[in-house]
Point group: C2
Chain length 205, copies 2
């Protein structure tokens, strides 16, 4: 039984190694250009073993995206010991660092080469929801108000679109981008408050 | 020859009618749930004729998305006679009206229910670029500055994410959403200016 457990463990380790390798591969080359043969060659294993673990190239890719999404969420969490807004800024900084390191993979997932695969889309949506939840937790008074909630959800869309644009030309430094995104969040929340107040006034008059 | 031209014309008209019907169908039901039989039945034509025009359900869908994208761009253009910012606000208002009327189709295209389709992604990206170009044209001084350009690109991502969120619960009135989005654009551009100034100061000191 100990042998069986050890065998099982080494299989899991092997699987994780393959996925990590996939993160590297898909960070540099688009999904459509990477063949199962390329992956097998890079891993030094047979195609058959790869199919055994993941079923198909798509199956492998989905696991790679799931892994990368988990990593991205983890790095973007920021240091618990920091005050909430600083923590948010630090998390955003690490998010952008991850995006920069895994540029090709990030763009592929969001620009929908294979990105519009339903399972991949669900993983991406999960990351968005985590980001929204973290901002809502970090800034008091956001969660209860529909306009401000929408501002946070919209801001996550802003971060994605801006990140993709940034990867195209890197016209800004990463720090400047981080500062701009943080200031945009403040502006978006203020815009929500403004529009809510105006709508209330319009109803009353 | 006149007869041939008339015949050709009536084929084009028929094709357009089918696409318009498709816009209605996919505005209410997701891609995966609509069969070629449903479409043929709704159009009162044979499946064979549908295949003749569009090749496949996917081919039909792509043409429907292309048509809807063109309509959306046209309605969101706003009245040329208006001052630029008012025109932008009016265009946004009509954008949201279109989104509301075609809720299901809008969500399907952006939430990517059709599976990996590069052509659909390219059409969506085209609409985004039109929106970015219109804002850059409308507000002087935006196009030349990388931070502000990024703000506009990010804002279009904000509009999409916020629209999807809004369609889920309609917790805000459409006018309030429009006002909030316009104020968010102002805030995002201000945030860009702020971050650019801070980065410049950091370099100088």
């Amino acid at each position: 039984m100990a042998t069986a457990r050890r065998h099982r463990l080494s299989l899991d380790v092997r699987r994780d190694q393959l996925i990590r390798l996939g993160v590297d591969i898909f960070s540099e080359r688009p999904f459509d250009e990477v063949s199962i043969d390329d992956i097998a060659a890079a891993a030094g294993i047979s195609k058959g073993l790869l199919y055994h673990y993941f079923g198909s190239k798509r199956g492998f890719y989905v696991e790679v995206v799931r892994w990368a999404a988990g990593e991205l969420e983890a790095v973007a969490e920021g240091d618990e010991a920091l005050p909430v807004l600083e923590r948010l800024g630090q998390g955003l900084d690490r998010y952008l660092e991850y995006v920069e390191t895994h540029a090709r993979g990030y763009a592929t997932v969001l620009r929908a080469g294979i990105g519009s695969d339903a399972e991949v889309a669900a993983i991406v949506e999960g990351v968005r929801q985590t980001m929204v939840a973290r901002v809502l937790e970090a800034v008091p008074g956001l969660a209860g108000d529909p306009g401000r909630r929408l501002a946070v959800r919209g801001w996550v869309g802003f971060v994605e679109a801006a990140s993709l644009d940034w990867l195209d030309d890197r016209a800004l430094g990463r720090e400047q981008l981080r500062d701009q995104l943080m200031a945009t969040l403040t502006g978006a929340v203020a815009a929500a408050a403004e529009a809510t107040a105006a709508a209330r006034q319009a109803t009353q008059s």
